[in-house]
Symmetry: C2
Subunit: 127 residues, 2 copies
């Protein structure tokens, strides 16, 4: 269902993207981990699958996320065409979240979630 060329995030769209606790948790996670599949996000954050799917769709539509299918799994990552200011703003926000709940625990849980056979989590380096 890959949305190939999303509109760039406008400031309003960016702000609305973060304006839901579940979506903020997704975005914060994806500042730390290169990509995550829907089942990992669902299990980590602990929401029902349709709810996760809905919020991911919102983030894709607004231009914040890119997705990639690999077999049955669909992996999401921050959209590489995201404007620099958007990425910087999100990173700054994430830096404040990582010591707090539920973000801290979310990140710790990622490694324990279900994963496609032989799939390897790629962490992003935080300086």
């Amino acid at each position: 269902m890959c949305t190939d060329t999303p509109n760039l995030l406008s400031p309003d769209d960016f702000a609305l993207s973060m304006a839901d606790p579940t979506r903020l948790r997704i975005l914060v996670l994806l500042t730390q981990v290169e990509e995550l599949c829907v089942c990992q996000l669902t299990e980590t954050i602990g929401v029902l699958q349709p709810k996760m799917s809905r919020h991911l769709a919102i983030l894709r539509k607004k231009g914040g996320l890119m997705d990639r299918r690999e077999g049955l799994w669909i992996f999401h990552r921050l959209h590489p065409d995201m404007p620099a200011w958007t990425y910087n703003s999100l990173r700054a926000l994430a830096s404040g979240c990582l010591n707090l709940q539920p973000y801290k625990t979310d990140l710790a849980k990622i490694a324990d979630t279900c994963l496609p056979e032989g799939y390897r989590i790629k962490m992003l380096n935080e300086e």
Copy 2:
């Protein structure tokens, strides 16, 4: 009506603070100008006074703004106790906004709005 000791902005509160176009415009302006009174904000952004007042109340309540009364005028500024990550995130966002409408025009209009007698606008230095 000065809210003296607001709770610190949680990530969720911070995200919700920005999740309305009017509130985002207020916040972006206040990354560039030290403080603004309600009438300046109302006139610059071009909304009805009760609407401005309501959004300012939301921002104060969430901990993003501080206010100070001087006679009839009430001046608002970014709350000085705002966490560093919040401020950094907001500044990054603002840096992306300043070239865009309506933020660009908002800033240009500030100087032309009504001002208390002899009041002088203090711009913040952007590096």
